[in-house]
Structure formats: structure tokens, C-alpha cells
């Protein structure tokens, strides 16, 4: 059977070049970078090289890059450090559509009594810049706004928001897990304090992430222990995965031009579905969107059922429906956007990568419409 992977916002396949770069560090080059012999020196240099590769992709300096275990750890660290190092400031600002890594960090501090401003979005998932500006105060410890939304692909105006925060001397975190490698980010011109990224969203393996911390920022480590990462993140470096992440950043850097092709595939897929399936709508801000993401709702049917039938024909996607999440409510992102329940339960997200082809799009356009029709045939509402 043909397999079409359209869930690249969940995770991506490891690029063959990345695996190749990693393999020596899983076999003969196993030294601990902290040790005092040639084998260790090789590991240390490999980590340093990876740090440069990441810094180059982000427009950062290598000493601004901290390797972590994942995007979630990076987000948690930024919240922790911002609060620990600014004792007078307790106020937090974030959006209602963040990834759980940020959402639950903010909720955790809110439960401890810290004031949190939750920014809403409009029906297209867009923030109101005036609201952001009004929320900023001399008491704000951290403003956290994701670069691009994982469910809808909506890209937020992070440069403008970061400028507002910087003008008022407020630290800002952007969770750029979905954006890095897909849209150009230059931290020399983007005045955020922290940026979180994750390896496995850009063809590196799971289990490695990065926290960018701007030079001159006071910092307090979240993971305490040894002196690794210049005392900012303890724990022996995950050398092979860090090497893999570095390689993945280098590949992304050299292949930015391919993102236009990915956007083209996504557009053809989305247009085709809307033409072939009645009562389907696209969720999100189609004008400002990640190249590979589309989020489409099908009225009167439920997302999990769509996914299981897609899986039967080898198509892998995800859904914002209640039933897929283990919770009982549909996606918090779609609800924040005010997507009606009639549509929210039947939403699916198709997220492409540079490994997808025109054939993939043709295949989905052939297989998806009959599945929607079949489920609507069972539904009492259609």
C-alpha cells in the first residue's frame, strides 16, 4: 500500500543526511565532551559545530544557543528563567492558542497566584496588536507568543510584537517550533529574548531542542546540575542528536527555496478538496500561514472517524476533534477562533514537508472525498 505522510506538524521523518551525520556519534565517537582525551575532544567539536549550524539558521550567535531535550523544555526554561531573574515582575502575557508547553506553563504560574493575561484571537486566528500593547506593563515578566500555530499554521506578526515588547523593556519568548526551517527567521533583526525550537519538526530526531537566549539576558538554569552548556543546562550533552539537529538546520538553510514548492502542493491540495467536497471550510489565516499546513473542517462528521478511514488507505493526518485528543472538547485553538461545533469536531490538519510530491496530492484528492461522503452517509445530521 501507498503511504502518504501528511502529519509533519506532529513530527517529521529523519532526513537521510541527518542520520548519516549522527551515526558515528552513536558508534565509535562516543566520548563525553567534558572528558580529557582526543575522543572527548571530537565530541566537543561536533557539538560546537552543531551550535554554529543552528545559530546560522536563526541568525544568532553560537553562544546564544542552548541545547535542550525538546521544545517543551525550552519553553518551560524561558518561563522559569524570566520569573527567577526579574524578582519584581510577576505578570505573564500569552495567547489562548499556544501549544500545551506554553499554555500549561502559564496556567501553572497562574494557579500559584501570578497574574496572566490571555490574549484572544479573531475568527481567522489573528491576534490584535492593540491588545498586546495594552497588556504590556512594567510588571510584565514575560510575553510569550508562538511564531506559527501548530494546528492552523497561522503565522503571528512576531516582529511587530517583539518590537512592542522591546520598546517597553519586556522580555519576550517566541515558541518557534513550527516555524524554524519553514519561514526565514533572523534573530539579529527580531528582538525577542528567547526562542524555542525542536529538532523533530525539521527532520532531526525526537529528543533534542534548542533554547535561544539573547546575549546580555540574565539567566537561571531550569535543569540544575553540571557545568554543561556553560552552566545554563545541566546534563551530559546528547551528542549524536545535537549533531543531527545541526545537520538538519544546515539542510533547512540550503533548502529554503523548496518551501515554495511545498506551499504550491498545499495550495493545490486545499483547493482540490474544497472543490470536490461540499460544506468544507479552511480554518486559519490563509494570508499568513506556514507553507505546508492546511486545516480543513468538514461539517456534520467527526475527525477521528475521518483519520481512521484515511489511515486505511495509507494517509496519515491529524484532527482537532475531541475524540482524538483524549479530552472531550475539540481543539482549544479552533474554539478560541470561535469555529462552530458543527465544524470543529470534523476538522483535520494536513501538514506537508519537502518530502511530499504531486503524486501524494493526487492520491489524497482521489481517496479523501469518498471517505467524507461515506461518513456523512452514516451521520444523522446530513
Amino acid at each position: 500500500m501507498k503511504y502518504i505522510y501528511l502529519d509533519n506538524n506532529a513530527t517529521t521523518q529523519v532526513a537521510p543526511e541527518v542520520l548519516e551525520a549522527m551515526l558515528p556519534y552513536l558508534t565509535e565517537e562516543y566520548g563525553n565532551p567534558s572528558s580529557m582525551y582526543a575522543l572527548a575532544g571530537k565530541s566537543e567539536r561536533a557539538v560546537a559545530r552543531a551550535r554554529e549550524q543552528v545559530a546560522e539558521l536563526l541568525g544568532a550567535e553560537p553562544d546564544e544557543i542552548i541545547f535542550t531535550s525538546c521544545g517543551t523544555e525550552s519553553d518551560n526554561t524561558a518561563f522559569y528563567s524570566a520569573l527567577e531573574t526579574q524578582p519584581g515582575r510577576e505578570h505573564l502575557i500569552t495567547t489562548r492558542v499556544e501549544h500545551a508547553a506554553v499554555l500549561n506553563s502559564a496556567r501553572n504560574y497562574e494557579q500559584k497566584g501570578l497574574p496572566v493575561t490571555w490574549l484572544g484571537v479573531d475568527e481567522f486566528g489573528r491576534l490584535n496588536l492593540d491588545e498586546v500593547e495594552q497588556a504590556l506593563s512594567a510588571d510584565t515578566a514575560l510575553l510569550s507568543v508562538m511564531y506559527a500555530n501548530n494546528e492552523t499554521g497561522t503565522i503571528f506578526p512576531v516582529p511587530q510584537i517583539a518590537a512592542l515588547a522591546a520598546e517597553r523593556g519586556v522580555q519576550m519568548l517566541t515558541d518557534a517550533v513550527q516555524a524554524v526551517g519553514k519561514v526565514p527567521i533572523n534573530l539579529k533583526e527580531l528582538p525577542v529574548t528567547y526562542l524555542a525550537m525542536s529538532g523533530h519538526k525539521l527532520h532531526a530526531p525526537k529528543g533534542v531542542g534548542v533554547l535561544y537566549v539573547r546575549r546580555g539576558t540574565r539567566f537561571c538554569p531550569f535543569v540544575k546540575g553540571g557545568h554543561q552548556e556553560r552552566g545554563r543546562r545541566a546534563g551530559t550533552e546528547n551528542v549524536p542528536y545535537i549533531v543531527g539537529l545541526g545537520k538538519a538546520c544546515e539542510l533547512a538553510m540550503n533548502r529554503f527555496h523548496e518551501e515554495d514548492r511545498v506551499a504550491g502542493l498545499r495550495d493545490r491540495l486545499e483547493k482540490g478538496i474544497l472543490e470536490l467536497v461540499p460544506e468544507a471550510v479552511v480554518n486559519g489565516d490563509v494570508e499568513n500561514r506556514l507553507p505546508g499546513t492546511t486545516n480543513i473542517s468538514f461539517k456534520h462528521i467527526e475527525g477521528e472517524a475521518i483519520l481512521l478511514l484515511l489511515d486505511r488507505v495509507g494517509i496519515m493526518a491529524s484532527s482537532g476533534s475531541a475524540c482524538t485528543s483524549g479530552s472531550l472538547e475539540p481543539s482549544h485553538v479552533l474554539r478560541a477562533m470561535g469555529v462552530p461545533y458543527t465544524y470543529a469536531h470534523g476538522s483535520i490538519r494536513l501538514s506537508l514537508s519537502r518530502y511530499n510530491t504531486e503524486d501524494d496530492v493526487d492520491y489524497v484528492l482521489r481517496e479523501l472525498p469518498p471517505i467524507i461522503k461515506r461518513l456523512r452517509g452514516i451521520s444523522p445530521f446530513s
Binding site: H300, I301, E302, G303, E304, A305, L308, L309, R312, S321, A322, C323, T324, G326, S327, L328, E329, P330, Y341, T342, H345, G377, I378, S379, P380, F381
Partner: protein, 292 residues
């Protein structure tokens, strides 16, 4: 990824009895688009027996599979037999459901009850009467009590999995916790009778306010009170009773054992059985003896 059994997959991919019965004798509808799952059940009933059952379902794989299983379970059964089908039987038929999906089986049972109420010409209330506890999903306190009692639920998470109550905004969690504590306490009451035996308490007795009874509820209550209270009492004095039939407020029983004399039989019938049923079920109940 949910770990569904092969049977769930089979009933999702090849659902039995999908569709509409145009001249259905009974239609039951539960759930809504907002809830994320809904089931419309159509029954063809001939001479008190379900001769055909069809469904339409909006929902996830386990909701579709539960609907399919329900129709398979009840086809060929009499209405009375079908009413005994519990949500657990629906789940068992499918080889089990993930705990978080048990509410799909509860939805099947509720649709069946709604359809049969419709057939009997009674109010087709989608929710059990009572106070709405969970505003997000419109779940009443009685629905929650019943789920706790019938499925032996032990925690807030269990309640969410089985009834959906509390699964959204979470504002009712305190109320649900209180309801759980109260219901568990009532269930665990070990009222020790003079003979020293603890008497089990039926759900219908622990529900605080008693709504007007439907035929179905009256029947269930009579059976429970007879089983849990009257029989143990008679057995202590060497007698026993079997339920033969219930027709509206008339209850027909068969007496056994040492109640030989006419006066003693009358005393058992009216003084024990009828009095207890009037007290615990409805005050217009009449008990008649059926001879062997």
C-alpha cells in the same frame, strides 16, 4: 492513538444496520453536534419484539461501533429484554472499549431507552430528569449518580470517561466530587437488619428526589425492591416470593414456603410486600397472588 479491539474496528469499518427505518415504530435520539457525538436509533417493533433496528451516528469510531453493536444486541429481543441491555454489555460485545470511550456505550443505552419511551408514548426526554450539573454537556445529577452506581465509578476521571460531565470547562468538578462522595457513601451504607445481614441499596433508592415513574422505571424499581428488601425479609421467616408479572400498578407474585394460612398469606401480601412496594416505589401499587 486509541487501542481499539478488532471488533471495534470491524463494527466501525463495516457497521451493521446503518440507515433509517421510514415507518419506524420507535425513534430515539441522544447527543448533539456540540457534544461531539449523537445517535439516532430507529426500531421496528412487532408484538412487543424488536424485529428491526437501524441507526445513524455522528461521532468517532467507537461511537459508530457502539451503535452498530447495540442494534445487533437488541434485534430479535422483546422490548423488555432489550431494556435490560446495559452499557457494559455493549462494550463487552465489542471486546471492550478504551476507558475514555465508555461514554459511547452509555450513549447507545440512552438511545435505546429514549426509543422505547417513544414507543410507549411517554415523554421523550433525552436527559434523565434532575438538576443539570455539567452545563457544557448538559448532564444531570441523576445521570451521574446512575453511572456511578451501575459502573462502580470511583473517581472524577471515571465520571468524565463515562458521562462526559466535567470534561470541558471543569467548573463543575467540585459539584461532581461532592456527588461522587455522596453517592459512594449511600452505596456503602451497610444498614444492618435485625438478622445481622447488610442490605444492598439499589440505585433507585439512593436517588434523592423521585420523579414521576415511567413504566420502565416502575418495573425496575419493583424488581429491585423485591429482590433486595422483600425477599430477604420473607426468607428470614422461612418464606419466599417470586415476581410473576407487572402490569401498570398491578404486581403479580407467587408465594412460597411456610405462609400456609390464609390470614398469614394476606399479611405477607399486603402487610409486607404491598406496603414495602408502596413505600419504596409508588403509593398506588396493588399486589396480587398468582397460584401455582
Amino acid at each position: 492513538m486509541w487501542q481499539y479491539t478488532d471488533t471495534v474496528h470491524d463494527h466501525f469499518l463495516n457497521p451493521r444496520n446503518v440507515g433509517v427505518i421510514e415507518d419506524a415504530d420507535a425513534v430515539g435520539e441522544v447527543g448533539s453536534l456540540a457534544c461531539g457525538d449523537a445517535l439516532k436509533l430507529y426500531l421496528k417493533i412487532d408484538n412487543g419484539r424488536i424485529v428491526d433496528a437501524r441507526f445513524q451516528t455522528f461521532g468517532c469510531a467507537s461511537a459508530i461501533a457502539s451503535s452498530s453493536a447495540l442494534t445487533e444486541l437488541i434485534k430479535g429481543k422483546t422490548v423488555d429484554e432489550a431494556l435490560k441491555v446495559t452499557n457494559k454489555e455493549i462494550a463487552d460485545y465489542l471486546g471492550g472499549l478504551p476507558k475514555e470511550k465508555m461514554h459511547c456505550s452509555v450513549m447507545g443505552q440512552e438511545a435505546l431507552e429514549a426509543a422505547i419511551r417513544n414507543w410507549k408514548g411517554e415523554d421523550v426526554v433525552v436527559q434523565e430528569a434532575g438538576e443539570i450539573i455539567c452545563k457544557c454537556f448538559g448532564v444531570t445529577d441523576n445521570t451521574v449518580r446512575r453511572a456511578i452506581w451501575e459502573n462502580g465509578l470511583k473517581s472524577l476521571e471515571d465520571i468524565i470517561d463515562y458521562t462526559k460531565a466535567g470534561g470541558a470547562c471543569g467548573q463543575c468538578h467540585d459539584k461532581l466530587q461532592a456527588l461522587l462522595a455522596e453517592t459512594l457513601a449511600r452505596m456503602q451504607v451497610k444498614e444492618v437488619d435485625p438478622g445481622g445481614k447488610p442490605t444492598g441499596k439499589a440505585f433507585e433508592e439512593i436517588r434523592p428526589a423521585r420523579p414521576k415513574l415511567t413504566n420502565l422505571k416502575r418495573m425496575q424499581l419493583i424488581m429491585q425492591v423485591l429482590e433486595n428488601e422483600i425477599r430477604p425479609e420473607l426468607q428470614r421467616s422461612g418464606g419466599d416470593v417470586d415476581l410473576v408479572d407487572v402490569d401498570g400498578n398491578k404486581v403479580y407474585v407467587e408465594l412460597h414456603g411456610q405462609n400456609q394460612g390464609d390470614a398469614a398469606r394476606r399479611q405477607t401480601l399486603t402487610g409486607v410486600i404491598e406496603r414495602t412496594l408502596r413505600e419504596k416505589v409508588e403509593n398506588n401499587i396493588h399486589v396480587f397472588e398468582v397460584s401455582q
